[in-house]
Symmetry: none
Subunit: 209 residues, 4 copies
């Protein structure tokens, strides 16, 4: 069995390798500007080899996005399910978990931070698109639940929970985008620090005085 297992491991590794290379290029250029040629070159494989593992450019793209987003969604659901934990801790955990994707699944995370439903409309088949959207909505719902919990716990002011969750989520994504795209390369990555500061700022704004 050793051989078959090793084969499978190697295959998995190659798939992961291609996905990593592809994600890097997709991220740098955007889907439309990315060519299979460049992905192949980055992965040091022939174009045809890519097609051994993914049946189309779109398939490759989706194979990067979906699992990462799916994993995150599951994780957030678990985090938000703790009804007793103080709301502030839950909010921080949600943000942390999302941010952790960064270290573990750097490339998928990158793509996610660039997620733009409009662009995908023409790109992905309807079912896949809807699936991604549902995952995004689920993430938002977990944040909303956390804010609602905070109000119920008497910690937060009686704000519009949905609105606040959108704000939190957007601030988070905004920071990522900003740090990734707008800053000069070479500069220190302030992401973690900026995100933490943002969260604390907003939590402070939410607290009952």
């Amino acid at each position: 069995m050793g051989i078959a297992e090793r084969r499978q491991r190697e295959k998995d590794a190659r798939i992961k390798h291609i996905q990593n290379c592809a994600a890097a290029v997709f991220y740098k250029k955007g889907y439309g500007e990315t060519t299979m040629d460049e992905i192949a070159k980055t992965a040091e494989l022939s174009k045809a080899a890519i097609y051994l593992y993914f049946k189309s450019k779109e398939d490759l793209y989706y194979s990067i996005i979906e699992p990462a987003l799916s994993r995150l969604a599951r994780r957030l659901i678990r985090i938000a399910s703790d009804r007793r934990e103080p709301a502030e801790a839950t909010v921080r955990k949600i943000i942390s978990a999302t941010n952790e994707l960064y270290e573990k699944d750097y490339d998928a995370y990158h793509l996610l931070s660039r997620y733009s439903a409009a662009e995908y409309v023409k790109l992905l088949p309807k079912a896949k698109l809807e699936h991604l959207k549902e995952l995004m909505r689920s993430n938002l719902r977990q944040m909303e639940a956390a804010v609602r919990k905070g109000i119920a716990q008497g910690i937060f002011e009686a704000v519009d929970a949905r609105l606040i969750s959108v704000i939190l989520w957007n601030c988070f994504m905004g920071v990522i985008q900003y740090q990734e795209n707008r800053m000069e390369p070479g500069k220190t990555d302030y992401r973690k620090k900026t995100i933490d500061a943002t969260v604390e700022l907003i939590l402070k704004g939410l607290r009952k005085l």
Copy 2:
């Protein structure tokens, strides 16, 4: 001279028309996925006609982005230059001015809200890219100045002004992105309300207690 003037006005109108149509498509699909064919069809003109007014796809794109961003930058500089105005008012004005672009220059605004330096690297010639980046940086500096002023005025806590300006800016952009891309179509546009709520939340977080 009346005739020449009318001609010029008509020409300007046609240029604006093309830009509006193009911006709508660029926004919906992203630069790479947008075809000149679709722009032409949207503008109800022939492709060749577009080329009478813009010398390339990139040129057309830039002609939409740059003036809007440039105008905004000038406006923010003027707003931030008032050294005496209370900082909170200045922050609100900066955000408002940015948001107002929305009503006046809907499509350019859209494109701006999607601004992604990385994508532009391959798209725009270096000089143009640098120009856009400088405009963005300028906008950020105005916000930074406003926060710094608030600290000087003793209104805000002694926070990292740069960090806070980044946060504010990102939250703003994040909200826009979210509202544009992630929500189901048909839903009410919560943008203004969300942005205002975000700003107030953050201002509250900034205030000395």
Copy 3:
């Protein structure tokens, strides 16, 4: 209107030109072996130009086959509808009409004579394939009707009309195939003569003694 009309005429001519060139290549090589490049070269156009008029290789192919077959089907229906004409004359007319396609629509005819449902299964969308098949079946039905009429008229022996119509049709197609494919090039084209002789032979075999 002169200009618009001329334009349309020219466009029609170009479409016909492309179809003719394509049919010649399709015929010579078969669908699979034919490349758009070769069609373009034959038509003295760029590949892209072909795609201005036909949206895919398959579309181009179908646009050649279908109208010719459709026209023939209509014609055979008209011929077979004469209930009083002696059956032998009807049979001869059906064969003649089919053969005449040769002179008028040389290339489409060629493709038809090569028609092979099996090959098309993967090629054409189901609806188109079914349409072609129905046309073929219609043609066969007309021949069957003619044979049946001959029996009713007491001219032909009481044979299996369907079987005989299949035979007649096959002989006809067989002769075409043979003459087209199996003979050395440069040899005289015996098609017409061979077909006529075949029909007479079979009619003689059918007649009541």
Copy 4:
């Protein structure tokens, strides 16, 4: 020696197996549309394994066609060489022998019935193509000889022997094509019955009254 022999037998069996599978696919799809992948999958072997036994796609194809056609040619020569046998019997035997290929070498037969010189021109090297053509011509000559014999025997009318042999051959091939390609799947295979009826019809037409 037993071992070596068994090895050889096994090898032959594997070769035959591949040929059978390949022939089925070639027949269903045509040469151009057939992929080595599909052949391999049908044969439940790896693509590379196919190349252990055949040095190219074309080689595999030819290896199916040629022996079958060659065997048939030899058989028809033998059949036609009987100068004394009544011509009608000889004609029937020729047709039968050809038809028998069906049961014994189903797949090669299929391919033969689709034989199209034009397609092969680009496919096969000149020598191989010429060889196939010569085999086909030989078969035709045997039929021609049989018809000529019938005239000499005073059984047939003084027809153009070559023409009639072409007709007979074509009818035969036409019936096969028809039955294979044009009929709805699932229907009874009328081939044998149709062919016999065709031959009898033509013989009747040939006979002196």
